[in-house]
Amino acid sequence: MSHNVVDRRRINGPQRSVEPVYTTKVLDPFATGRLDERALDQVRPIFIKTGPLDAQSLSAAAPSGSAYYEQGKIRVSCAIYGPRQGRKSNARMGSFDCDFKYAPFSCSWKRSHIKTSDEKEIALMLEHSIAPAIRLESYPKASIDAFVTVIESDGKAATIAAAINCISAALADAGIELYDSVAACSMALHGEQW
């Protein structure tokens, strides 16, 4: 991708660089069943690890809850801060905000450091999916912030679903009051087949 923007707060590479044309053969994803030989309704194996690596020595600036989520090749990490002081001091209910970012090396092309509208749209999607599950009325004037970073992505919709699951796990780890945990899965239509 060509970036003509000079980011004054980062080390900039050459003005314009592109991916080389890779000559490795591109496989047809559905030639003989799915590429990784899964059944049509089978999800990739999931691994979730919540909490810090070493709970003994935790810094004061550490998140209230965190989770690291893997699903096949998708890797997502989430940190929850809160409940902490919100922006409105007269709010009856708490507010829940999501921040979503792809790491520059997480997709097959190099992503920009600056947040794109794509990432902002996904952040809004995450907020709308998860906010109904949180008992925000028990946290008046407070805000709960979720920060999600995608370390490796493998399919856009699947990565969004992974992010939702990751945030759910992190909220549980933070001890935030929830009506229920939120689970998500993506589906795709191939021809006539789901």
Binding site: P14, S17, S59, S66, Y68, S77, D99, A103, S106, D154
Partner: protein
């Protein structure tokens, strides 16, 4: 036991209210709040090549501090003045995810300073003339992004180690430049790049007025008067030394730190 007018605190409350005094209680007894020795480093774990979308990657865990370095390789035209040199751009990302100290938005001062210092250090790792595909026409441009996932002090050491490990893991597909179309095609398994020297960092921090501790965690870093980064190359020679902060560190202490850095190098080699 408790006299009238004396207030007692639970340990965590005491740490929040009197952080300096809290640390001093431990340091004055020749120990640290985490139980480590003054010159003891946290356990180090390096995992290479876990990220398939990056051409080179490494995850480094230093105690609770976790950083991931991913390298993406693209092609571009070289600088007219340096027709056989490729590019290696390194950036450190300290997002609000890793610590409550960082706000969303543009990179903080700490991130910019870290990026700048590591970018300058990166010239020690790699000779960029081996990134040449076609002299004057096409070269590889490597973007190394070091994303901090958890910040518990001493991100710089972890970042230097992660960058080195990711560069060792990097595989560049065999590239050919077609002068008729101006396109670069690449394919095959790929070859590793040859590193100039492996670098071994060690950070020492001056806390509580006069105690020098190695590999400070976040609680200790917040109270640091000064810090010293010593980077040795694989021959034990000094590749880089950087002292930050207003606190004074004398020459003998610096020599002692370099000695400890040599011991550390033997540990992580």
């Amino acid at each position: 036991m408790v006299e009238a007018g004396q207030v007692t605190f639970a340990m965590q409350t005491f740490e929040r209210i009197h952080p300096v005094e809290f640390q001093r209680r431990f340091l004055s007894h020749s120990t640290r709040h985490s139980g480590r020795e003054f010159m003891q480093f946290r356990p180090l774990q390096i995992i290479k090549g876990a990220i398939s979308t990056a051409q080179g990657s490494a995850t480094v865990r230093l105690g609770n501090t976790t950083v991931v370095c991913g390298i993406k390789a693209e092609v571009c035209e070289p600088d007219v003045k340096r027709p056989t040199s490729g590019y290696l751009t390194t950036n450190v990302e300290l997002s609000p995810m890793c610590s409550a100290r960082f706000r969303p938005g543009a990179p903080s001062d700490e991130a910019q300073v870290a990026s700048e210092h590591i970018h300058r250090l990166s010239a020690h790792f790699l000779d960029v003339t081996q990134l040449c595909i076609e002299e004057g026409r096409a070269v590889w441009s490597l973007s190394a992004d070091i994303v901090c996932l958890k910040h518990d002090g001493n991100v710089l050491d972890a970042a230097v180690i992660a960058l080195g490990a990711a560069l060792e893991d990097l595989r560049l597909a065999g590239a050919e430049f077609d002068s008729a179309t101006g396109m670069v095609t690449a394919g095959g398994e790929g070859t590793h790049v040859i590193m100039k020297k492996r670098l071994f960092p060690a950070t020492f921090t001056l806390v509580g007025d006069s105690y020098v501790v190695a590999d400070a965690d976040d609680a200790e870093e917040q109270l640091a008067a000064a810090s010293l980064l010593v980077v040795l190359d694989e021959d034990g020679k000094l590749a880089n030394i950087w002292k930050r902060g207003a606190g004074a560190i004398d020459k003998d202490t610096i020599e002692q730190c370099v000695q400890v850095a040599r011991v550390r190098m033997a540990e992580i080699a």
